[in-house]
Amino acid sequence: MFASRHRLWATLAVGSTACLVSTGCSATAGPAAPAPLGSTHVSQVTISVSQCGTGWTRPVAGRQHFVLDNTDTRTGEVLLTDAGTGAVFADVEPLAAGTRTSLDIDLGSGRYAFRCAMEDEATVIGKAVIIPGTAAQPVAPVLAVTQADLIGATKDYERYVSGQIPRLTRLTGKLRAAIKDGDRPAARKAWLAAHLEYERLGAAYQAFGDLDTEINGLPTGRPGGVHDPGWSGFHRIEYGLWHGQSLPALYPSARALTTATTKLGHQFATTQIDPLQLSIRGHEIAENALQFELTGQSDFGSGSGLATTRANLDGTRTVLAILRPLLRSRYTQLPALNQALIKTENDLDAVRSAGKWPAPDELSRPDRERLNSDLGQLCELLAPVASILEPRRT
């Protein structure tokens, strides 16, 4: 079904190449969005191994409307780059064989080159195109990051997590022991210490896969909710500890938790994490805190959402420190990001009194709004990290 559609597109594309810039063409131009009017410069650019980037014949500074036409038999990725430095202005991925899409972007004066990275083929760099004059660059290009660039950082992160896991295992062991001893106050204390240690690792959004579900899963999506027999891990134990459930009944969960954390250690020792995961992690630990901790969604009685948020900030800081060498030359807002992280840490620490964190719903409105504001701003500034450090073919 899909393949035949693609072939149909290809036919349409061939039929319409002749009338690109003339008006009234959009009706036959097929899927690509109609060219915007005004002083936009419209160019149809061929994307293929043999003709990468041809068709941009009248380069003028200003608003560009490129119709990227993949005439190849392979799906690929298209990068518009600075011909000198290789820095990337735009990345379109994927562009399926025989399809077209538009790329709208403002460009200043400079030397440009399209790069076509077709599946199973070496990247082809198109002929350099010069936009004459002295028009300023509206948005600076960014030097892309490759898988290889991220290997060092990924190894650093793996080393960090591996280094923390023995401590995590020890702390979950203490929790198990306290539950076995029937000492609820000790168990609650041990629960908090162990859980924060885990949260410090930055296991946001299923980063540790199924093991994260075993260790830190929520009852959401389980038919029985908090009473679902399949629910286990930190939050299951939290629910029991703070809802008067008997400690012997919680013991199997505590034992399963120690098993899972031990497994996590083995997993880190033997498998490599995807570099893409690391760049996403830099952003999403804070995103996770905003979504689950500040809302109380992951609070099952301990009221420790702010403590968890603080631990998540530690995790964010650790990941950012590892990524910093890659970000320094690429992310102009990095100083603002550092400031935002410090401010969030300070504002969080300020609501802690006598060593105790209030639950999020106990915060005064000004404190609450300040923290919402801090975390929101922090997430805005972290979002580009994931985009800039997404590994790309160059």
């Binding site: 097929g30 735009a90 709208d104 403002d106 504001s373 929101g376 805005e380």
Partner: protein, 435 residues
């Protein structure tokens, strides 16, 4: 622009919310598409159909003929969104400023100005390439239409507390909203440092603006409460109806009469107010829940005596047509229009109450259900006046204990001062206040 009632009926037959204002403007085609069963969502399916017949609208897709894009002037002595005839859709978003100091507040105001300038004029958002997520939410497509958008920024009394050193510049009448005898105010839906009033021809334009504004101001501004409003179409003619079923807004000062606006709405230079306020105005927002289930169980004659107008025609009970002017001099005992009818208390139409008239620009709101299963809907009463006490507060005192209070319940809102307008591309909200 407005369509005839026949078309309106056809639109009503569609699966989309018939209450949505502005539907009628899309006219026949929209109704026809809706009748086809326009539940189809755009997306892959749509483009595949388009592939077969690139020139024809995709079958099954909700085809709309949008009303023409229009731009409402952003610059001026005063902000837009006050004398501007009500757009169909709105959001009232009260925020608290979380910026740490005065410099942070000024940054926030500059950012709001920059975003509002772009959003109200439209254009193509920049392509940031791989440097970050897309610069725009995409709600309105790759090129953002102006969409009849206005963004009106006003400030509450709490902005003038100790945080920013603004106490000496506070407009004289500005204060936390008074609690009137029949109020049932929820602190979570009352007051705020800064109010964003966002109005546009379409709901997606409002939401696009709201997402853009909050995205760019997260570090300095946090939403405190929000309510979205809509205006019904005239049913069948005249002022649109509120959710009590009565025409609302029939008697309003004439916004085309500049002298009257200077007398009733705009703070004038050289007044007793701080100099920076000239061109601004006091805004009162009252979230007035209407107890519509109860109301619907009240007889028509009682409803009409409570309001003072006929429900069908909107005519005052002393007249025949909507625009007939109620004559209270001839009716001193309230035989035609009861003495405590809403319109009579609100505007007794005497020479002494003339200067108390205010400019109303309200919206209906619809916000789900209450714990008892009753509908939470009502009026976002929003009005503008030169002097909060001479106008709104005086009217409100006259309305104290009116019989209508059994059927309506003020639950929130706030007093705000609408900042003067922006003069040019270098100007920003609160420039004169903060400089």
């Amino acid at each position: 622009m407005n369509t005839d009632p026949v078309n309106a009926d056809r639109v009503n037959a569609g699966p989309m919310n018939a209450a949505r204002a502005g539907l009628g403007r899309r006219g026949l085609l929209r109704g026809a598409a809706a009748a086809v069963g326009g539940a189809a969502l755009a997306g892959a399916g749509t483009s595949e159909v388009a592939a077969q017949t690139p020139t024809a609208p995709p079958a099954g897709a909700a085809t709309t003929i949008p009303h023409p894009d229009r731009t409402i002037e952003f610059y001026g002595r005063s902000q837009a969104g006050i004398l501007t005839p009500r757009q169909d859709q709105s959001a009232f978003v009260s925020c608290d400023v979380t910026a740490a100091d005065r410099a942070g507040l000024a940054d926030l105001m500059r950012t709001l100005s920059t975003r509002a300038r772009f959003l109200t004029s439209g254009g193509t958002p920049p392509n940031l390439g791989i440097g970050g997520p897309p610069s725009d939410s995409g709600l309105l497509g790759p090129t953002v239409p102006a969409g009849g958008l206005t963004i009106t920024v006003s400030v509450g009394a709490s902005l003038f507390d100790h945080r920013f050193g603004l106490a000496p510049s506070k407009p004289r009448r500005l204060r936390r909203m008074d609690t009137f005898p029949n109020d049932n105010l929820d602190p979570a839906r009352t007051d705020g440092d800064l109010l964003l009033q966002i109005c546009a021809d379409d709901k997606d334009t409002v939401l696009h603006a709201l997402r853009d504004l909050t995205r760019h101001t997260r570090g300095g501004l946090q939403p405190r409460w929000r309510v979205d409003g809509f205006v019904g179409r005239p049913r069948p003619t005249g002022a649109p109806r509120n959710l009590l079923g009565f025409k609302d807004g029939t008697a309003n000062p004439d916004v085309t009469d500049a002298a009257e606006m200077d007398r009733l709405v705009w703070v004038q230079p050289g007044s007793a107010e701080p100099a920076w306020t000239a061109g601004g105005t006091y805004q009162v927002v009252r979230l007035i829940r209407m107890l519509v289930e109860f109301w619907d169980r009240v007889t028509i004659s009682e409803q009409e005596r409570l309001i003072g107008r006929r429900r069908d025609s909107g005519a005052p009970l002393s007249g025949t047509q909507e625009l007939d002017v109620p004559d209270y001099a001839d009716d001193p005992l309230g035989a035609a229009i009861p003495l405590d009818a809403h319109i009579r208390l609100a505007n007794p139409r005497t020479s002494t109450t003339d200067s108390a008239r205010l400019l109303r620009r309200g919206y209906n709101y619809d916000a789900g259900i209450d714990v008892n299963g009753n509908l939470d809907m009502g009026l976002i009463f929003s009005c503008y006046q030169q002097d909060l006490d001479r106008q709104f507060a005086a009217v409100q005192k006259r309305l104290a204990n009116e019989s209508l209070t059994d059927y309506v319940s003020p639950i929130g809102g706030g007093y705000f001062f609408v900042l003067p307008g922006l003069q040019d591309a270098n100007d920003w909200y609160g420039h004169r206040l903060l400089s």
